[in-house]
Subunit: 604 residues, 2 copies
Amino acid sequence: MSYRAPLKDLMFAMRVNAGLDRRAGWSGHEDADLDTAQAVLEECARFNEGVIAPLNWTGDQHPARVEAGRVSTSPGFAEAYRQFAEGGWQGLQHPQAHGGQGLPKTLGSACSEILNSANLAFALCPLLSDGAIEALMVAGTPAQQAAWIPPLAAGRWTGTMNLTEPQAGSDLSLVRSRAEPQADGRYRLFGSKIFITWGEHDVAENIVHLVLARVPGAPEGVKGLSLFLVPKFLVGPDGRPGLRNDVYCASLEHKLGIHGSPTAVLQFGDGRGDPALGGTGAVGELLGTLNRGLEHMFVMMNAARYAVGVQGVAVAERALQRASAYARDRVQSRPVDGSLPGAAPLVHHPDVRRMLMTQRALTEGGRALAMAAAGAFDAAHHHPEAAARSAAQARYEFLVPLVKGWCTEVAQEVTSLGVQVHGGMGYIEETGAAQHLRDARILTIYEGTTAIQANDLIGRKTLRDGGAQARALAAEAAALAETLAARPGPAAASMARRLRAAQASFEAGVAFVLAEARARPNPVFAGSVPFLMLAGYLAAGVEMARGLIAAEDALAAGEDADFHQAKLASARFFAEHLLTRVPGLADCLLDGADSVLALAPEAL
Amino acid sequence: MSYRAPLKDLMFAMRVNAGLDRRAGWSGHEDADLDTAQAVLEECARFNEGVIAPLNWTGDQHPARVEAGRVSTSPGFAEAYRQFAEGGWQGLQHPQAHGGQGLPKTLGSACSEILNSANLAFALCPLLSDGAIEALMVAGTPAQQAAWIPPLAAGRWTGTMNLTEPQAGSDLSLVRSRAEPQADGRYRLFGSKIFITWGEHDVAENIVHLVLARVPGAPEGVKGLSLFLVPKFLVGPDGRPGLRNDVYCASLEHKLGIHGSPTAVLQFGDGRGDPALGGTGAVGELLGTLNRGLEHMFVMMNAARYAVGVQGVAVAERALQRASAYARDRVQSRPVDGSLPGAAPLVHHPDVRRMLMTQRALTEGGRALAMAAAGAFDAAHHHPEAAARSAAQARYEFLVPLVKGWCTEVAQEVTSLGVQVHGGMGYIEETGAAQHLRDARILTIYEGTTAIQANDLIGRKTLRDGGAQARALAAEAAALAETLAARPGPAAASMARRLRAAQASFEAGVAFVLAEARARPNPVFAGSVPFLMLAGYLAAGVEMARGLIAAEDALAAGEDADFHQAKLASARFFAEHLLTRVPGLADCLLDGADSVLALAPEAL
């Protein structure tokens, strides 16, 4: 089944949820109007539908392979990456000063959704390069930025994040890799890193590894970690890749999904580099301040967390498209209401309609939420007023764990429903539905598991500001519910009622978290993921409510009835089938800790 | 990670939920006391832990292969099957008159859980043989029973169900395979069947295919389907397999999971049989009455549906054991309450505890529900009083779609949580957690999708008796809630409250279904799966409530404190985290149809 980028839906979300049409006077947004966005998206759709999407199944069936440290990526990937780079797609969101196009995150995020729908495994390579660029923008010296960003933004080189070690997964305090200072101010790195996405490949001429390691005598724990930039090939005076550095791929992982993405075990300092390096150890340079590596890495991780949330939306969209096409095509059984004399396409069966509507509402809810966050990011960087900028930044930071946590959790449901809609055919790999389920399964894990997003939501995003952002979201929900209740029509009334109930549940949850988290952390953290999911449903519900209003207004104005009827339907479905999950989640948080904690850890 | 059969949990469920200790005076239960059960289970555990479980990963990594119609199963499977057959495990539940052991379904079901936990793909072969025996018991002539059941019950031959064709999946009215009557009273079969589990293999000396097909001139639709028995090798006068029949494996499917189970495309009548057959067409005999094949097949399907529900429990148990072992072993991060000075095993983190408790409560809830159904089955067949037998039969039939639908849906959640607990390691195939997720994904599809179970629950099991069985379940929940409310202690109070709320939701759902299903089928069937899930949570909750009471009583009597504390904890968790999902499900059913049906099918 071929992929078609949902351009109308993306344009709708960019307007309604990210306010792309309400940015007059913003610096750097002079060209960022709806017409430009439409043109960029059309070009993006054309490229990804034609070049990248057809390689999705190829990558799944022909994973990257490694032989003697050299990785061959899936057939077609290297040529597709070349076209990706030449098309300027890597530089979309990056500063013009470094060769990028400086477009808003709102637009970058829409393009990222398309790329990830086309091919999640492929898209991880640019995603990691984006992260490396973000880290360089924040922590790099001007010289480092000038040296490393342009080739990364041009897609000539790619970036990686090297955090995890066998004993250090979510817990980076256990990182052991070491960096020894050299006389020339550089460092030699030694150690082993695992789960390095696109850690070795053949699609670009160089790889820029950002590596967490410790210098001798550094403090224990995360406060002794520094960030190093370690290229696969050292860069010569001509700016071209030269000597092969002492970092090699020892193996690739055999994974459940994203087979087209080479996940490497990297060895630093095994003595396999070019003899002209003059000794063992991978040569690297410090990025940012000594012992503040984790802080710098967090910049990269936050960008990546947002991007992984978008991956959730993207794979959900692809799974929905596949299920919908199958359900319209496959003829099976007579409709239960007898409306057709014989067997009908699956879409005529109520439960298939329910499944497709669930997929649709969760996908659109995720897209709306991610777009709202992108809009906040853009406002934080480009709004003319300082107060608005700082409010937007706080809002963005509050939304990131929801985008990452909620959009990826619901992607599990959407891709699993995608298999279910296909019936037995869904279980056959060649159908393609199962790949989306397998691919999606990593999303709630990498860049911080859902529990880690929930800890972030509670700790840094709710407790630290005394619940200010959380209350702002609740207030917004309340205001929207009031607006909706005043409108005629059953959809608005239905949404108003469910939004109010969800808001009340959320406020009770926030109050509980604020009152208890410091004094009795276990009961609060026993409900951390239910709290995150609750907040995610509410935040996405708020954005779907905006969509409902916009769709009703468009319908009243006689604009594109089919499209806006569909928007109205998915918003109402979101209210009646998804927001209604919220009170049960609140029960888990408010009144469920005793049973989570009843058994001693050893008895579990 | 090695598998350990949960003997204590199984014994507990056999007592508390299936009443194995309350069967004095039942015919055929003279030897079915708890001591016998314990002895059989111990032997079953020993065999499956030692012989079958170690082949689970082997089968996944080395799927069955086909070459020129001959299937080679995964390494070790043939030898393990030989031991399975020699151990008498196939005949456990089958009549002693045909060489079986005639044990109660309660015990057979417990053994089936163990076998399926050990190796889901392997266990499918005996599962299908069980189904063939059941169909022969109901539809076969005495001569057919005498000829075919003993070798099946001895495990010398295996059985299959041939329903699906490329154009006929859930919709069997579209079946086209044809059976032409021969002068000798037998038939020649022609056609193509797909998705035939263990349809061809090398583990036993013959295969007994039960095949749905049409005789010339049969009515269209399901009322023109007859059931035929078509052996791979025709049976000679000596009772031994002889001439190769004209049924061949054209290919095996490349599936998401259960790789060790060969899923065959079978061609009947391609002219590849032994020349001595004297012409093309697979030779078969009619089983049961002409044109009533579907009815006979339903006997087999109902047995298989129950068994697939047990598969859900089984794979959930295996996933739970693996996650729990990893979480006790893997050290990562300091506990959020500061109770330990450094990094602690994962089980110390509240969200990991929540995930493990969710896995545990859903697995135990499924087991309790399946055991309650098995107890009803045994009562239907062996209770001394006719009225009790017929009540038990109605109860069993009501529970089957819940066992199949609910236990397999929650198995998706349990196996997915199993991956999540492992973090990044869960995504690596060698860890084994992902296999359970992949294996489990078929369970909500085969033997009737969840939507088909929901249709059965609504149509045959709720409407047909005017809601009598549904109301009986609600009354039982109400009575248990009253009992619980009268007991001291927070767990009983908590369960009482949630059981009452769930019961009220269920009653509202039943009333809605009864009032609307015939007049307005679409709105009811738009909520059919939420209704099934709601009923499943309630029915499992009722059984968990029984467990809670039994555990409290055992604790009061000073029996096995650790075990019964754990039972108490999982029952309370079930109430607070799982029964609390029920009101949201009721919302979907009672007030969610408009948004399911808002978009025209063509617009989905």
